[in-house]
């Protein structure tokens, strides 16, 4: 007999699983349906098919500027977060030193600090230092948010690498940089890529901290948030929503598949 679930239990679970998926995906499906709906308010009955809202959004310069700002912020902040994450993970995984536990805690603790507090505390810091809010201040906030995620992704991968490989490189006369570039980095590359993507999507979607730290240029979530308060913009926003949702799902699935293959190849090698 199966010790976890009876045959009937399994049937019930299958139905329950399907119902939860319905609950999770129905709202997203509704957005997709209404993005092609002619009426300017999302109400039943549906009033006919149109691509008008997609066209509108392609010509909305505010929205495009916001998307561009978010892309810049996300690219810079995730590059910095991954770089710092690599340094921290190598430092923490390669050696046992006094205070290692403390440093690990420091690196991971931003995970449990509410975003509202992170945002406000940085706002106060920049106010104290007399620094103008700009793209750069958002980048700084997003690095603090993403750094723990990058470490969580990189550490397990680094700990599985055979340390004798790096030691062999040292023994053959390679310096620390050459060893990193030629031995360590290729071995952790899949983890580096997923750390980058997690940091990128986190930043691209982040509203709470950005809302405190944005200067005159708004990011895409800030744009979305204000658009949500004006119903006239709703249909366009729904169209963008569908585009962004489809793109993210595509990227997630693509990366997942790529990562599986790359890891399998590295394990085999």
């Amino acid at each position: 007999m199966d010790v976890a679930l009876s045959t009937n239990g399994r049937r019930v679970m299958r139905v329950f699983f399907a119902l939860v998926l319905l609950f999770l995906y129905a709202p997203i499906a509704i957005l997709v349906v209404f993005s092609f709906n002619k009426a300017s308010v999302p109400t039943f009955p549906l009033s006919g098919f149109t691509l008008h809202w997609y066209h509108e959004f392609l010509t909305n310069s505010d929205m495009q500027a916001a998307l561009e700002t978010s892309a810049i912020v996300a690219a810079i902040s995730s590059a910095v977060a991954v770089a710092l994450g690599i340094l921290a993970s190598i430092g923490l995984s390669r050696s046992r030193f006094r205070g290692r536990g403390l440093v690990t805690t420091l690196v991971l603790v931003p995970l449990v600090v509410p975003l509202i507090v992170l945002g406000i505390s940085l706002l106060l810091l920049f106010h104290q230092l007399g620094i103008q809010l700009s793209i750069l201040t958002i980048v700084i906030g997003h690095v603090v948010i993403s750094l723990p995620y990058t470490v969580l992704v990189l550490m397990p991968r680094l700990e599985r690498i055979d340390t004798s490989l790096a030691e062999a490189a040292y023994d053959l006369g390679a310096g620390p940089l050459t060893t990193f570039g030629r031995v360590t980095l290729p071995l952790i590359l899949p983890a580096v890529v997923s750390a980058f993507l997690i940091a990128f999507t986190t930043s691209f979607d982040e509203y709470a901290v950005a809302s405190f730290l944005a200067g005159s240029r708004q990011t895409f979530p800030i744009f979305l948030y204000s658009a949500l308060r004006f119903p006239s913009q709703l249909p366009q926003v729904i169209a963008v929503a569908v585009v962004v949702l489809s793109l993210t799902i595509l990227v997630i699935v693509g990366v997942e598949v790529w990562q599986r293959r790359a890891e399998a190849r590295l394990e085999a090698a």
């Binding site: 329950f16 931003p110 509410p114 509202i116 023994d171 979305l224 948030y225 729904i238």
Partner: protein, 297 residues
């Protein structure tokens, strides 16, 4: 190169490399994470102050906060809302994770990814979906009118801008994520233990209550905290779908900082109190995990 030299290099390496590697990340977090929280603390004790008030250490903001029925009332309201949301979400996610991890479902990783995928998409857009669905002119109400179940002008107005809406949306947003920590714990469970229980004539229910459930508790508590911590300080969802009755502690903090009459001293006090509560909860959880590990060893 001789063996001795290699060994010498190896011995020297960590001590030289570690400070260089860790210096940047530690420095970054010291300046952009620890120092800012120090500044929040300074404002809450009025060691720093927004002009025209003059700085000078005082506990008056803390005194006012701890004796204020408004702020503490809001805090308890937020705690209650997010306790209910976290508990419900864990209760729904547990059977899903259990089914995926233990019943030998085919393609369990694909199913897990399908379950989690909504969490990886935009937060604001998922809130937007519910705004479209719940509004007076929204999908549910116009649908009910359309099929004749409801008269025109009698919309179910409690759906949007209510405490209910905030909790529904928060639950919707966090549900996919919660399944993950529970799945990981159940997945790493030694199946031999379950088989042993079964060999000793334990029923499925007994095996679940005496073996699976106790061993999965760390994952369950982790999942619970992962939802509770961000939702208790939440301000985005309540400001979009909560109206006045869904107003939470986080909204109060934002208003203290961003309205025409900012009160940074009080706002900083509310923020610091929130971190304090969460720090205590996290420490208790870590203690619980350590105790569990010690028992297992």
């Amino acid at each position: 190169m001789g063996r001795g030299e290699g060994r010498l290099k190896r011995a020297l390496r960590p001590s030289l490399a570690t400070p260089g590697l860790l210096g940047l990340p530690i420095g970054w977090l010291a300046v952009f994470f620890l120092a800012p929280i120090g500044i929040v603390a300074a404002y809450s004790f009025n060691a720093l102050a927004l002009p025209p008030s003059t700085p000078g250490f005082t506990l008056s903001a803390w005194h006012a906060f701890l004796h204020s029925s408004v702020y503490l009332g809001l805090f308890w309201k937020s705690v209650e809302m997010s306790l209910i949301v976290s508990a419900l979400v864990v209760v729904v996610a547990f059977p899903l994770a259990y089914y995926l991890a233990l019943s030998g479902a085919k393609r369990k990783y694909v199913l897990l990814l399908v379950l989690i995928a909504p969490f990886l998409t935009s937060y604001l857009l998922r809130v937007l979906a519910w705004k479209v669905i719940l509004g007076n002119q929204g999908v549910i109400n116009t649908f009910l009118v359309w099929i004749g179940l409801q008269a025109h002008g009698h919309a179910l107005s409690f759906l949007l801008y209510s405490r209910f809406a905030v909790m529904l949306v928060l639950g919707y947003v966090w549900l996919p994520f919660v399944a993950l920590p529970i799945f990981v714990t159940l997945e790493s469970l030694d199946r031999g233990l379950l088989e042993a229980a079964s060999d000793l004539y334990a029923s499925r229910a007994q095996a679940f209550l005496r073996v699976t459930l106790p061993l999965s508790l760390p994952g369950v508590f982790a999942a619970f905290l992962f939802v509770f911590i961000p939702t208790v300080g939440e301000f985005v969802t309540p400001s979009l779908v909560g109206g006045t009755s869904g107003y939470m502690y986080g909204n109060q903090i934002v208003d203290l900082f961003e309205t025409g009459f900012p009160d940074w001293e009080t706002g900083a006090t509310l923020s610091l109190f929130l971190i304090g509560v969460i720090a205590v909860l996290t420490l208790v959880f870590v203690r619980f995990l350590r105790a569990g590990e010690a028992r297992a060893a």
